[in-house]
């Protein structure tokens, strides 16, 4: 049953570009997939780990910058640059995790925010490496397995393949014994310690893993845009991805995906018609928080089951 619905969803996603037709919408769908991977990675921390981070742009940004820099300045091939960027970002997540996990709750939030801002500042000021305000441009999309993904549709399928793998691995992770340990450490850390769990280590491993998936989103992001600027590392970016997770439903598998779709579509489609689209986005979030406080996916599920069992 579970597999059946996953396969059905995958088939629907694969058919999507043919249904959308217009290249603009196909590109939009690619953006949703990238944002969804990014939000899923943050959800590991926020939803399953109970660690609210306001600095998650760091991993998308560093993953993207590293890919661009290694390609443009060191002349690495796309495979080498991508793999090295993932490794660099994951290492950085390991270091940042040690710093951030000295605290929990609000302290954790503030440290992640500060660490993220450091990188944003570096991207702005270290012009020799990052290109400063102008960012790094001139990157070409790679050709994985010799397949040209320059066009909107092929790139969408490339992003969909990465998304499907990421989704499957994240789903496996949260349902694994380690996933149960993580959720236990979120709900009753003291009890978990008494049961023999190294709560710090569980959180750190999750932090690193979230950084890794954030970097995967970053590599896709830079190949989608062929360009990277400090905006990718900004606080706005971190806040936006946090909103995707919360609006869609933290600690659910599909919540961040729905949240990512909501934000990306609002940002791109609505902004074409409504100038003050951020205002509208704000209103939507207020409504979600008021009426579906645990997010769209769990909220709709609850309403649906209430409707089914109505008297």
């Amino acid at each position: 049953m579970r597999y059946a619905s996953s396969i059905a969803a995958l088939v629907a996603l694969a058919a999507l570009p043919f249904a959308l037709g217009n290249e603009y919408y196909v590109n939009l769908a690619s953006q949703v997939l990238i944002a969804a991977i990014f939000a899923m990675s943050l959800n590991l921390l926020v939803g399953y780990g109970g660690m609210t981070s306001l600095g998650h742009a760091a991993y998308l940004g560093v993953g993207a910058y590293a890919t661009a820099w290694l390609t443009l300045r060191l002349g690495l091939g796309p495979l080498g640059a991508g793999a090295a960027a993932l490794a660099i970002t994951t290492l950085m997540a390991g270091f940042y995790g040690v710093l951030a996990l000295r605290a929990s709750g609000l302290g954790f939030l503030m440290i992640t925010l500060a660490l993220g801002q450091i990188l944003w500042g570096l991207a702005y000021r270290w012009v020799g490496v990052t290109g400063g305000d102008n960012g790094l441009s001139g990157l070409a999309r790679p050709a994985p397995l010799g397949i040209d993904i320059t066009g909107a549709r092929p790139f969408y399928f490339f992003a969909l393949a990465v998304f499907a793998v990421a989704f499957a691995l994240v789903a496996l992770f949260v349902r694994s014994p380690f996933g149960a340990s993580l959720q236990g450490a979120r709900d009753q850390p003291r009890r978990m310690r008494a049961l023999g769990y190294n709560v710090w280590m569980i959180r750190w491993i999750t932090f690193v893993l979230a950084g890794f998936w954030g970097a995967v989103a970053g590599v896709l992001y830079v190949y989608y845009n062929n360009f990277i600027s400090p905006h990718a590392l900004s606080l706005t970016q971190s806040a936006e991805v946090l909103l995707m997770v919360i609006a869609g439903g933290a600690a659910t598998l599909t919540g961040p995906v729905v949240g990512a779709a909501l934000v990306v579509v609002m940002k791109n489609v609505v902004s074409a018609y409504v100038e003050r689209w951020t205002l509208l986005l704000g209103v939507v979030f207020v409504l979600i928080v008021m009426f579906l406080p645990d997010g769209l996916v769990p909220g709709v599920q609850r309403l649906y089951s209430r409707w089914r069992t109505r008297p």
């Binding site: 694994s176 149960a180 709900d187 009890r191 310690r193 023999g196």
Partner: protein, 245 residues
């Protein structure tokens, strides 16, 4: 060989000593009762033994090994288990899932992230056996939030027993139970095999006296009387601080 030895253990909170030079020894297989009025430092002492708190001075020897500066999880790996005064179960999970978490705590399985947990039938069967032992097998699939207070208490004990500890700390296991529930839990505690040494805190003296062969009375963080049941009950200091006479 002693199961637990505390030597000159001290812990203060803002200059107020909660544990004041506590020295005591618990033999293997012993049942020890620690009593004392409210605020005597009983739970602080437990937190020092389990590692939730770090002592200001003194040592904690668990089966001869110094553990005073080890983390709680490291002490758990060495055979220490505890229950809590305020129930800290996982309310949204089922009883069997709670026990599974306890079983996983001491197994390398807890680090596995590449296969599902639900497929581990062996673990769930083992957890059901533990629930059987405390008479909760029929509630295995029920969520903790949906069972009675007395049943939660038994889940607490079952989680500790699931780990097959060498030393078990019970923090007021009978608190807040009805007379009938108390009987059930007392029988359950009586049935714990002797290879597990037990230290139990109780606020209410009468309920727990029968359980232990040795009793320690704490008052303002200090051990004031220690000995067998008759000795402690008859001791004038016990009467003074505890019975209020």
């Amino acid at each position: 060989m002693t199961a637990l030895a505390l030597r000159g253990l001290r812990k203060s909170f803002g200059g107020l000593p909660a544990t004041d030079d506590v020295t005591l020894e618990i033999a293997r297989g012993e049942r020890r009762l620690i009593i004392g009025p409210n605020g005597a430092g009983k739970t602080t002492l437990f937190n020092l033994i389990s590692g939730d708190l770090e002592p200001d001075a003194g040592s904690v020897l668990l089966f001869g090994e110094e553990v005073a500066h080890l983390r709680p999880d490291q002490r758990a790996q060495r055979g220490l288990a505890r229950t809590y005064q305020i129930i800290t179960l996982f309310p949204k999970s089922t009883l069997v899932e709670n026990i599974v978490l306890a079983l996983m705590g001491l197994s390398p399985l807890r680090w596995h992230c590449w296969h599902g947990l639900a497929g581990r039938r062996d673990l769930y069967d083992q957890a059901r056996n533990v629930l059987e032992r405390v008479g909760l097998a029929q509630l295995a699939a029920r969520r903790v939030a949906d069972v009675s207070y007395g049943e939660k208490r038994r889940v607490e004990i079952a989680m500790a027993l699931a780990q097959q500890p060498r030393l078990l700390l019970l923090d007021e296991p009978l608190a807040g139970l009805s007379a009938e529930e108390r009987r059930t839990v007392q029988d359950l505690l009586e049935a714990i095999p002797r290879d597990i040494s037990i230290v139990m805190i109780e606020h209410d003296m009468d309920t727990a006296l029968a359980f232990a062969e040795k009793i320690t009375v704490l008052h303002y963080g200090k051990v004031i009387v220690e000995g067998d049941r008759a000795h402690v009950v008859a001791h004038p200091r016990t009467r003074e601080v505890y019975l209020g006479a």
